[in-house]
């Protein structure tokens, strides 16, 4: 049996490394398309300033991209190193989208990113634009396949358990690919990435405008970001709402937990705007409700119910009892007692096997679980409500703030007045970190809300880990925390350094810190970089 501390440490490590990885992914998703827009304008108009914009924002893109690649390798290793039983149990389905992601998207992205940086003198304008586009396209395709894999963890379609191979096996690749959860997650996630990229460019451009330098460059960047950001922030909220509909359909526990819905409400259910969830007494105190709203979001109807957590627990209890029987039959089948009657009965109830496995936490034999242990397992089927309730509300509030901010930015850009609105520029600048917060909250809701499962209703998280010792986990955790902290400090240092420097970093002689020093030879550029050029003095 795996110790509880190994499970907790493995989860902690996965949470840290996954959330850290997603600090870099959304900016890659969004900024890459902003580069495509800027470069397209350059190719169409031939104006050098758009080339400079592509190159400068591309430099920041590169600083971010490097860490995205670094931390992405961890994600691929980690299923095998830390979640070996998971990998064995569902690798037949889960491995395929990851491998196809490599073949179809990651190769394309990583091959063309090199040409993006090194190909300016070697390719024609159109060829280079195509390279930039393919990089952006591929990074988004990458997200598609990863979310197909993740969507399957939430809603494991197109597969069934095989007792002979003791694992889940794929029955329909099309169902896995077209999993509705995967599709809504994909569009919501990439839109969130676009918002992140847009606000990054908007905020840094606002900084130059506040400082009154490189105004032509900043205004154009600001305008591109405002337009792209407005479209993205609208779509992220609308497509997020679509996610809510999918939840109502296939992830009822998560939806009820997010909403802190303990009782099944009469249709149409109200949306709880505010409240204090109380897990112990299974109530929500001081709740303020918007009538009808939840029913509309979750069921797209006024006459369907949204099931509450208490009723879901009743359903889970009967599934756990079925699961105990399924587990007993599985033991028989594994020991060679494979008569048709046993197989038939097992196949009839094997969908509840996962619920039986929940009891492994309390009794290794499962079939001998006491009534008390069954009730403990029933309680486990409901995640902690309060963190989900609050994370979700904060994420949504941020979503609406982005619409407002991009809407106003777009409006004043259209009026050619954005540069004079100091309050707007400051709001844009100080909002730069917010999309990251809402992205992380979104992932938290999606993954914490899936507990106690690593694969929804199929495989409990506590069974999914590798057979490791706590010493192994402390070693790897210390390594990750050490390296990741150091890398983040370095990345932020470079990002701030180049963002402050602005387009002068390109050394074209056309921008703020170089004007006046333009006649100086290359490398003498007006103290851009504090250290003298020691490297040429060999």
């Amino acid at each position: 049996m795996i110790g509880a501390d190994v499970v907790d440490l493995s989860r902690l490590q996965f949470a840290i490394t996954a959330m850290y990885h997603f600090l870099f992914v959304p900016l890659t998703l969004g900024l890459s398309f902003i580069l495509v827009i800027m470069e397209s304008v350059y190719v169409m108009t031939g104006k050098t300033i758009y080339k400079d914009m592509t190159k400068f924002w591309g430099k920041l893109f590169g600083i971010n991209f490097a860490l995205g690649v670094t931390t992405g390798i961890t994600m691929e290793f980690q299923f095998g190193t830390n979640w070996a039983y998971y990998s064995h149990y569902v690798g037949d389905i889960f491995g395929a989208p990851l491998a196809i992601e490599g073949l179809m998207a990651f190769f394309l992205e990583s091959t063309f990113i090199g040409l993006f940086f090194f190909g300016w003198e070697r390719l024609s304008r159109r060829q280079h634009l195509m390279v930039t586009f393919l990089t952006a396209f591929a990074s988004n395709m990458s997200a598609l396949w990863i979310l197909v894999a993740n969507g399957w963890m939430q809603n494991p379609v197109g597969s069934e358990f095989s007792f002979e191979t003791m694992r889940m096996e794929m029955t329909s690749f099309a169902e896995v690919l077209l999993n509705p959860v995967a599709q809504v997650k994909f569009v919501h996630t990439v839109s969130a990435g676009y918002v992140t990229g847009a606000l990054f460019v908007l905020g840094i451009s606002a900084y130059y405008m506040l400082k009154g330098r490189d105004l032509e460059f900043a205004r154009r960047s600001f305008a591109v970001a405002a337009a792209f950001g407005l479209a993205s922030s609208l779509s992220v909220v609308i497509l997020g709402d679509e996610s809510g509909y999918e939840l109502g359909d296939v992830q009822k526990v998560k939806l009820a937990a997010i909403e802190s819905e303990w009782e099944t409400q009469e249709a149409p259910a109200g949306f709880t705007l505010f409240g204090i969830p109380d897990q112990e007494n299974e109530t929500t105190d001081y709740s303020v409700k918007i009538p009808w709203a939840l029913g509309l979001i979750a069921t797209r109807s006024v006459d369907e119910e949204v099931t509450g957590l208490k009723d879901l627990k009743v359903q889970h209890e009967s599934r756990i009892r079925n699961g105990m029987e399924a587990y007993g039959l599985l033991q028989k089948l594994r020991s060679g007692q494979t008569d048709e009657a046993t197989k038939a009965r097992f196949n009839a109830i094997k969908d509840d096997l996962g619920y039986g496995l929940l009891l492994k936490k309390y009794t290794p034999e499962v079939v001998d679980a006491t009534e008390k242990q069954i009730l403990m397992a029933v309680d486990d089927t409901i995640p902690q409500v309060a963190p989900l309730f609050w994370s979700f509300r904060l994420m949504v509030a941020l979503g609406f703030w982005f619409i407002l901010l991009f809407g106003l930015s777009f409006l004043y850009c259209a009026k050619r007045d954005a540069g004079r609105k100091q309050w707007l520029l400051k709001a844009a600048l100080y909002s730069i970190p917010l999309p990251w917060i809402s992205c992380e909250l979104g992932w938290f809701v999606a993954e914490y809300g899936r507990q106690p499962w690593s694969i929804g209703e199929v495989l409990p998280t506590h069974l999914s880990t590798s057979t490791l010792g706590t010493g192994d986990l402390w070693f790897s955790l210390a390594g990750f925390i050490g390296f990741y902290t150091l890398l983040l400090v370095i990345e932020m240092y470079l990002m701030f350094k180049y963002a402050r420097l602005g387009p002068s970093a390109l050394h074209t002689g056309r921008y703020h810190f170089e004007v006046g020093a333009a006649a100086a030879p290359m490398g003498g550029g007006a103290g851009l970089i504090p250290q003298p050029m020691q490297t040429h003095v060999e």
Partner: protein, 380 residues
């Protein structure tokens, strides 16, 4: 499903081999060149020359590694689970070493401070040398057998330790893989870097190529004379549902040589390993770096297939409970998954090769110190 299960199992054994070869030919040269960076580049500009021959390509190359990992996950989930968790500490050391590469390439020249640059140079050295060494050590351990077992619900448990991996033969396998990637990296630098690096790389190819021949030869003799292999006594049909618990396996002296007696053509693989390395030495000496690179690639392919052929059909034998050893017959995914993955590979690998070639051609040419001076701010 056009291909039957048995054929697909065999095809995936080959495809994993092909992906590993793709990995050593592409990512191998940038790891090898990374391991050589502090030694062949003696000034900041020289080091930048080396880095910029790799700059546009290392990331695409690394995807061969990622995809090989993903393909093992998808095609042999049991191997992915047992090997990655069993080699836990070694895998994490590889991973931590790889951390230095993306940031090393991109960040190194963005700050002028020589201490900063030197630190990243050594980071790139670690990111090239450590994985090159540990991959070989891992292969050596597969050949020796790994202490792991299964329970009846197929949960793998590794019963050894990290230091248990550092057995003498496994370390020798590490030397083979490190020297072959260094040989390969040096042929790349001879091909793509300007003087004086080109000349230094030429000598390096000769030294590393000789190291490949000697270490690979010693490993072969050791394997024939002193390392017991594994032999299947009985097993289910080759197209049966995969179940690693259903066969009988024994350890036997010389068993890793048995396939060469049964299929004499397999001897071509080790011969290619030797001849390729010799070719790399001669072609480097004759200042034909393109041919040296090709020979080195052939040598590495031969060495990888030698390991595969010797062990076939084993992938990961268990030294403690030989019966639960993983083979390419009982570790794969389901028929459907292998089929889907097969078509994905058939469609995308040629496309990948096509645009990879296009990318290399677009950026072909020698990187020189003059190039670095002209591109002080936009080169790596």
């Amino acid at each position: 499903m056009i291909l039957d299960y048995e054929t697909l199992k065999l095809v995936w054994w080959l495809l994993v081999g092909v992906l590993l070869i793709g990995f050593v030919i592409t990512d191998g040269f940038d790891m090898g060149a990374g391991a050589l960076l502090p030694f062949l580049g003696r000034s900041d500009e020289e080091r930048r020359v080396i880095i910029n021959t790799l700059g546009p390509h290392w990331d695409g190359n690394q995807v061969w590694f990622i995809t090989a990992g993903g393909a093992i996950f998808a095609a042999w989930p049991a191997v992915y689970a047992a090997a990655f968790s069993g080699f836990y500490v070694a895998m994490l050391l590889v991973l931590f070493a790889l951390f230095f590469r993306p940031v090393g390439f991109d960040y190194r020249s963005k700050v002028e401070d020589p201490r900063w640059r030197s630190a990243w140079d050594w980071g790139l050295f670690v990111g090239g040398a450590v994985p090159a060494l540990l991959f070989g050590v891992a292969f050596g351990n597969l050949i020796l057998g790994v202490p792991f077992e299964y329970d009846t619900f197929l949960r793998p448990t590794y019963t050894g330790s990290f230091f248990g991996l550092l057995r003498p033969f496994a370390l020798l396998a590490g030397v083979v893989s490190l020297s072959m990637l260094i040989m390969h990296g040096a042929t790349w630098l001879q091909l793509r870097a300007g003087q004086p690096i080109e000349a230094r790389a030429r000598k390096t190819v000769m030294v590393a190529g000789s190291a490949v021949i000697v270490s690979f030869g010693v490993a072969g003799i050791w394997l024939a004379l002193g390392i017991p292999g594994y032999e299947i006594v009985s097993m289910p049909a080759t197209d049966a549902l995969p179940n690693p618990l259903a066969k009988e396996v024994v350890q036997a002296e010389g068993a890793w040589m048995a396939n060469y007696g049964r299929y004499p053509w397999m001897i071509l693989a080790p011969m290619l390993g030797f001849v390729g390395a010799l070719g790399a030495i001669l072609m480097a000496g004759a200042k034909r770096p393109g041919l040296a690179f090709t020979s080195s690639a052939a040598s590495m392919s031969g060495i990888i297939f030698t390991a595969g052929f010797s062990m076939f059909p084993f992938i990961m034998p268990s030294i403690t409970v030989p019966d639960v050893s993983l083979t390419m017959w009982d570790a794969p995914s389901s028929h459907l998954t292998l089929t889907v993955m097969f078509w994905a590979a058939v469609i995308f690998v040629p496309i990948i090769l096509a645009y990879t070639v296009w990318c290399y051609r677009a950026l072909w040419g020698r990187t020189t110190v003059e190039f670095i001076r002209e591109h002080n701010y936009d080169a790596y």
